[in-house]
């Protein structure tokens, strides 16, 4: 793929609202009320999603949340029970996978073992009847791009896992599809390799300005790669936004705990003061805290692990007993038991937390501005 100047610049700075795409230049991919039922099981319930051209969007959720179903519907391995899927404005809901102009990267690479690396990359081009000379040229270009020049004559089994996944990327990118889908592409790699591949995927995305939908259950991966993230649970999209929005202002308790690893503290009562602040009664204290949601529904106080600290701060004070501490180099994770609340996990600066001992009492503080009242779901 040649990066020409005519191409639309990458949508690397998503709007704060995180739901553009229908305005301006139009969506690359749009899901309209897409549902998928397997018998009486609802795998995906009326999903609506709009992906901008050049955007890197991640579907994040625990297993069984519907993210893989959504991917299989987009690529055409399953047909939706109802709803429409539009790619560049045309309805592809019931097209065969071959007609959709999509590239896909699988978790287990899915390279054709009887073909060389070059033949694997050229597979889509051959089907599209590219002349041999152009195919050869394109393969060379792709091999350069994935930094495996000279590997064309090898067979997939002669490559390492990371190299195989790069070839799989090249195969999916070679014919310049309208959309690239990645189904947990780093799931089969070890930790070090995963970090390298994240880097590689980021670089390729920036360079090619491709529209990518990425499926993972790993929130670190989602944070590192995505322009926007759709968080899924029980067949529904429960949150959609930029990594920053979802991490610092999660819209509900599931996103707060699943995505930001936040502690969810029960509140004895809460009352809205303004559109985005509320009075809460929590751990025997009255506090004014930031709030999201309508205000009428049950809510919990979300406190991120890194918001808690040893030094006194104007805000929430938690008294408890240390249950466990784990040193992670610069940081120390402290698990404490707070009466009336339960388990609370904090991540402290390791240098300040030398005195923390299992079984001893501890007091931690969280600035009120660093907590968030979220609707409980």
């Amino acid at each position: 793929m040649t990066v020409s100047d005519e191409q639309i610049p990458a949508a690397s700075v998503p709007t704060g609202e995180g739901r553009a795409g229908t305005n301006g230049r139009g969506a690359a991919l749009e899901l309209r009320d897409v549902s998928k039922h397997f018998g009486s099981t609802v795998a995906l319930a009326e999903a609506n999603l709009s992906v901008r051209p050049g955007e890197f969007l991640t579907l994040l959720g625990p297993s069984g949340s519907g993210k893989t179903t959504m991917l299989r519907l987009i690529v055409g391995f399953e047909a939706p029970t109802s709803g429409q899927i539009l790619l560049r404005g045309s309805d592809i809901s019931h097209m065969s996978p071959a007609e959709r102009d999509i590239g896909m990267v699988f978790q287990q690479y899915a390279l054709f073992p009887h073909m060389t690396v070059a033949d694997n990359i050229a597979y889509g081009l051959k089907i599209r009847r590219w002349p041999a000379a152009e195919r050869k040229h394109k393969v060379e270009e792709m091999l350069e791009l994935i930094r495996l020049p000279g590997f064309g004559d090898r067979y997939p089994r002669q490559l390492s896992g990371g190299q195989q996944q790069r070839v799989a990327l090249a195969r999916a990118l070679a014919y310049d599809p309208a959309l690239i889908l990645m189904d947990e592409p780093l799931g089969a790699l070890d930790r070090t390799l995963r970090l390298q591949m994240e880097e590689e995927i980021r670089r390729l995305h920036r360079k090619l300005n491709a529209t990518v939908i990425y499926v993972t259950h790993d929130q670190q991966e989602a944070l590192a790669l995505s322009d926007r993230i759709a968080i899924m649970r029980d067949g529904r999209i429960v949150a959609l936004g930029t990594p920053e929005e979802l991490y610092y202002r999660p819209g509900n308790s599931f996103v707060a705990s699943f995505f930001a690893n936040a502690n969810l503290l029960p509140v004895d009562g809460h009352e809205r003061r303004a559109a985005d602040t509320a009075w809460v009664h929590c751990a025997g204290q009255e506090l004014e805290v930031p709030a999201v949601g309508g205000g009428g529904e049950p809510a919990v106080l979300s406190v991120r692990r890194r918001s808690l600290r040893l030094g006194p701060a104007d805000g929430l004070r938690l008294d408890g007993t240390v249950e466990e501490t784990l040193l992670f180099g610069d940081e120390r994770e402290v698990v404490m038991d707070v009466e009336g609340i339960g388990r609370v996990v904090a991540v402290l600066d390791a240098r300040d937390s030398g005195e923390v001992r299992v079984g001893e009492p501890i007091t931690l503080y969280a600035p009120a501005a660093d907590t968030l009242l979220v609707p409980e779901i």
Partner: protein, 267 residues
């Protein structure tokens, strides 16, 4: 007396060497002996032969009885190989790639031919073929041998298909291949070595089959194993040595090829 570890290790090593040598001799001696005796030029059986030459091979290829038996065996074995493939390949797709209810029963049932004692099988086959008027016919022999060879084809192709990830076919389809192209070009292509291996196994099984033929063969239907049995009944004809040697060589070559093909699927 306690042996030093070094002495004890040496004894173990020598014992191992002797065991391996004996085992190899036990396996190879009959083969070598048969091969050597096939080059006897005597018109009778004797060890060691009085004269050496190619007389037995000449008889085998010129004598009408032996030639006819060889040709019939081939004429049965090749269709058996093809038929097994035609039946087994769709079956393994149904077993591994469909949501067909009872596909596991199909899988186990397909292997029954290996498990059931062959003489019991032959008696049952006699009854079935008699009902259909196929007793003592060429078609009957092909069918019976196919029933015998099918499980081998099933085992080999089923193992191979279970190692071919479904994702490969899906990947081909997303990349732009039609369902047919993905199936033939990827999945069936990757299954081909196992199919060839299974074909060879089926052919060899049918070629060596010496039990069924006694039940369901008939006049004018003398396969090579049957001809050997018949000749042995009248006294030991040294031509058998040539037949056996040729059979061993051909079978070994085919088996080596089959193994080679089957192994290439693993990669």
């Amino acid at each position: 007396m306690r042996l030093s570890p070094r002495t004890s290790d040496r004894i173990t090593r020598i014992a191992g060497f002797v065991t391996v040598t004996l085992a190899a001799a036990f396996l190879l001696a009959p083969v070598l002996l048969t091969a050597v005796l096939s080059f006897s030029n005597d018109p009778y059986f004797g060890v060691p032969p009085d004269t050496w030459g190619f007389r037995q091979y000449e008889t085998l290829f010129t004598d009408q009885t032996w030639r006819g038996a060889l040709m019939l065996s081939l004429k049965i074995a090749l269709p058996v190989g093809l038929l097994s493939a035609v039946i087994a390949v769709p079956a393994v797709f149904a077993i591994h790639r469909s949501r067909l209810p009872g596909r596991n029963v199909l899988h186990v049932g397909g292997l029954a031919g290996i498990i059931i004692p062959i003489s019991a099988f032959a008696v049952a086959m006699y009854g079935v073929l008699a009902d259909f008027g196929l007793l003592g016919t060429y078609a009957g022999l092909v069918l019976a041998n196919t029933v015998l060879a099918l499980p081998l084809m099933l085992v080999v192709t089923s193992a191979a298909l279970s190692r071919i990830p479904v994702e490969l076919e899906l990947a081909a389809m997303v990349t732009g291949a039609s369902r047919a192209r993905a199936w033939f070009g990827i999945t069936l292509r990757l299954l081909a070595p196992a199919m060839i291996g299974g074909f060879v196994l089926a052919v060899v099984t049918s070629f060596d089959e010496a039990v069924f033929i006694n039940f369901i063969g008939g006049p004018g239907l003398t396969t090579l194993p049957k001809a050997i049995l018949d000749s042995a009944r009248l006294g030991v004809d040294p031509v058998i040595m040539a037949v056996a040697t040729l059979l061993m060589v051909a079978t070994s070559i085919l088996m080596i090829l089959a193994l080679k093909f089957a192994r290439s699927t693993d990669e």
